[in-house]
């Protein structure tokens, strides 16, 4: 089960994710949320992973898709509070060099624009 809470900070959308981004429900829900935000023109996103317990290769794929789609449309996607295991998953597939990641929300917000 994935729960997504949405906050707004000076035009940047923060998504507090909680649960699992895995094949099936989690991945689908994540994809749908990103799609809706982009439709609303919200294309500066900060994803808070603090409470994400599990991401599988399908979830990593959704992250990458969201990143490239946003980038292609002049938006930005950044990651906050990655748990160690998820950071490992990004590192070994060389995606840690692709994503901007932060452990401090204020610093993350300042980094946009």
């Amino acid at each position: 089960m994935l729960t997504i809470k949405q906050r707004d900070a000076e035009g940047i959308t923060i998504l507090d994710l909680s649960g699992r981004i895995t094949i099936g429900q989690g991945s689908a829900q994540f994809r749908e949320t990103i799609r809706q935000l982009m439709e609303q023109g919200r294309n500066r996103l900060l994803l808070n992973f603090a409470d994400v317990s599990y991401v599988d290769s399908s979830g990593i794929g959704e992250l990458v898709s969201a990143y490239t789609t946003l980038n292609n449309q002049g938006g930005q996607l950044k990651l906050l509070n990655l748990p160690k295991r998820i950071k490992d998953l990004l590192r070994i597939t060389k995606l840690l060099t692709v994503f901007e990641t932060f452990d401090d929300e204020a610093a993350a917000l300042r980094s946009f624009q």
Binding site: S57, I60, V64, L89, R91, I92, T93, K94
Partner: protein, 151 residues
């Protein structure tokens, strides 16, 4: 490596709803035979990816085709086999997800993850059709040995 015959087997219909069951069973069995929680977590993620592949690419989500998962172990290792009834595939055709041109592809990381989380991974053909993914993880593996190799 001397292996006992399987002591636990799990069979599921090819439905993504059962992926989490495979994950839970793997984690429980790995901890039961002496892996710590962290290692058991990585092992269960490897099995999860193999099971997803077996359901998706192997059995093509045909609920009438089973995915079989067999667990065996000795003092230092756990061996897990994931078997489907698909048409098999050629590893040589699988693109390298670390290749710069593949880095931003949304898929193609499953097998790479399996290899990273386990110490030995073999793909073979099942007599009668299908793929067998055979994965070994050692208790004596130094943690981070493999998964930090690509810093």
């Amino acid at each position: 490596m001397q292996q006992r015959k399987p002591t636990v087997g799990l069979t599921i219909a090819s439905d993504f709803h059962f992926v989490e069951l495979a994950e839970i069973v793997t984690k429980h069995v790995a901890e039961l035979v002496g892996f710590d929680e962290d290692a058991a977590g990585w092992i269960s993620m490897a099995v999860r990816e193999a099971v997803i592949n077996a359901i998706k690419h192997g059995n093509k989500q045909d609920r009438n085709k089973p995915v079989e998962i067999e667990f065996s172990f000795n003092a230092d290792t756990i061996t897990i086999q994931v078997m489907d009834r698909g048409e098999g595939f050629d590893l040589a055709d699988v693109p390298d997800p670390l290749d710069p041109e593949n880095l931003l592809k949304p898929s193609g990381r499953g097998i790479f993850y399996i290899r990273s989380f386990m110490d030995e991974v073999h793909f073979s053909s099942r007599p009668g059709g299908g793929t067998i993914v055979s994965m070994v993880r050692r208790k004596s593996r130094k943690e981070g040995e493999k998964k930090d190799a690509d810093h």
